[in-house]
Subunit: 369 residues, 2 copies
């Protein structure tokens, strides 16, 4: 670890496709493309690790096609670090489950209703074929409000699945991360952590949060887990991308996090700024000829006015979603980079409070929404 | 004129925002954006002149906003040559006409049904506000199958409208082009040409073709008009973008042409290649790891395989439409540039026959569709 400030950590993630300074926000390229952005633009936006979703890639175009292409790096043209999830989250959130057993999970495809089975062994091998730098174990992610017994059984099965993933994983140039589950129950989280760390992985994710619980509950659970993880291994919080949340999980010692939020917001015409999220469909932006965010080096902020971006968004022009995606990914990249500087300087907490206050100020003053 | 080969011409179009070698294909940025492409990409694709549609820009965001932004160049970030149509074509093809009179045309907006009137004076001033390098006169574009008397009346009214446009046009840094109408009737075309040239414009467009008539009829009418236009003035064929058609109108002495085809095809997953148009949704491309077109310098052809592009297209990823748009615009730009070389060499006709044969060969051999 390069530096710590409270629980917050500044480090360097080393992968076969390059090193990434942490904390780092990882944009999501669900189907082998971060919506609307080219690899060169992701690079320019400061993206370190890019995510792919095994669930989607397994179904379309199929891992066979990706293997034939020489892996997901060659297929997509992104030559930087890459992480694939195991598909577990998508199976449980997008598909109809036909059967869930010790062996694995049988589900119907969200694309065409065809029936498929994921086992720990299958998703591990699929991720080896896809060839990302970091693969994830198969886990079940139960709803936050599922009962205690359900969470307990599920977490223990996830722990057994993780061990099976590790047993068959033999791609030396690919890291494998375990996932801590257990819902909002402190004892289950502690047990999950202990079991996952005992199995032993190259890094540890915290899953099953940001799935419907309150932000306070989420932070409480995370605060109980993250600092207990092995200090020398990367810590990945699955699924957070709002600027305040990002700063809060960094404060608790998270190194990596991902979310579709910045690109999804962009497609709906919203942009992240230091003074809050702004909705470019708001009438006031029709004649606002200022850049989106003063000082932002992204293409959207250097070549265009808010008025033009607002026009593109209103008319549903592809360029609008694309420029806003570029900006939102750049915004989160810069936020992480600034966070890192303040961790190194040792004043992360006070800087974070200032940034959160500033971010919230837009809305509070009625100037931005 | 730099060179001629038969009726085909190689020239240079000079505008306040730069010079463009002709013949030149002009991509269409209907609403102030060529679907999915940034100005830098248009530049890289070899685009010379970019089109804007006055009808759309007048209604959204409104010419007032564009004037406030400092004109369409400043608003959109495209600093090269730009042409706006008068909106006539869109009024007659997209809107419900409430009243058509000597004064002008009253219509309902395609966006919200609101009522607007276009007169020659209004569209001329609107185009001055938009500030393109080249503006067009207001014309009526009747359906190809309208009766003779309708075409005659319409063409004469268009000629009178053109004179009114010229009378109020006073932006010195903006060229104004007249439009020859007259449907498929040789005598009406001749009269339209005579009247339009008598009024006198900086360039001449041939309108009212590619609107439902056969390709043979179109070429016959064009062959009667284009060579009769003033030799020293640019000749603009409104609305053609298929590679064979482009080569055929160049052969008849056209210097400029526009069409939404290359970007529309791209959004539907089709790419233009030397050996014909290919539909990337076809199953054979799922595992075709060759580039779209060998030797093409565009981003789609240098960074990605057909298999990846096919995947993006099938999944409706924004990047797919964008990369194919970039390729199709690049393809037409290169085709025009090659055409120019062969006009200069004096072997345009034989080169064109070869290219048309090659383009048609894909489909004939059952290799491409």
């Amino acid at each position: 670890m390069a530096a710590v400030s409270g629980e917050a950590r500044a480090g360097v993630l080393k992968t076969p496709h390059g090193e990434v300074e942490t904390p780092t926000f990882m944009p999501v390229g669900t189907r082998g493309s971060v919506r609307g952005l080219s690899p060169a633009e992701l690079r320019a936006a400061g993206a370190g690790v890019v995510l792919g979703n095994t669930y989607h890639l397994y179904l379309r175009p199929g891992t066979g096609v990706i293997r034939e292409a020489g892996g997901l790096h060659a297929f997509t043209g992104w030559d930087g670090p890459m992480l694939t999830d195991s598909g577990g989250y998508q199976v449980f959130s997008l598909s109809r489950i036909r059967r869930l057993s010790e062996e694995g999970v049988e589900f119907t495809s969200v694309y065409d209703g065809s029936v498929h089975s994921f086992t720990p062994e299958l998703v591990t091998k699929a991720q080896e074929e896809i060839g990302a730098d970091i693969a994830m174990v198969l886990d079940e992610c139960p709803p936050a409000d599922a009962p205690y017994d359900y969470h307990a059984d599920s977490m223990r099965r996830t722990a057994r699945w993780a061990a099976r993933c590790k047993a068959v994983h033999d791609r030396r140039d690919q890291a494998l991360f375990g996932i801590v589950q257990g819902g909002l129950f402190a004892d289950l989280r502690a047990e999950s952590l202990r079991r996952t760390v005992e199995t032993g992985f190259d890094g540890y994710a915290i899953g099953g949060l940001s799935v419907g619980e309150s932000r306070e509950e989420m932070l409480e659970v995370l605060g109980g887990v993250a600092p207990e993880l092995p200090e020398e291994k990367p810590r990945y919080f699955m699924g957070i991308g709002d600027p305040i949340g990002v700063l809060q999980v960094i404060a608790l010692g998270v190194d990596m996090f991902d979310c579709v939020l910045p690109t999804r917001l962009a497609r709906h015409g919203a942009a992240l700024t230091s003074r809050g999220k702004i909705n470019l469909k708001n009438a006031r932006y029709r004649t606002d000829f200022e850049p989106l965010e003063e000082g932002c080096p992204c293409e959207a902020c250097s070549g265009y006015s808010r008025a033009y971006l607002a026009h593109l968004v209103r008319e549903g022009e592809l360029l609008g979603a694309r420029l806003l995606s570029l900006h939102n990914v750049t915004f989160l990249g810069r936020l992480c980079s600034e966070a890192r500087q303040h961790i190194v300087c040792g004043d992360y907490e006070s800087w974070m409070s200032h940034r959160i206050e500033l971010y919230a100020s837009g809305e509070a003053r009625g100037v931005l929404e």
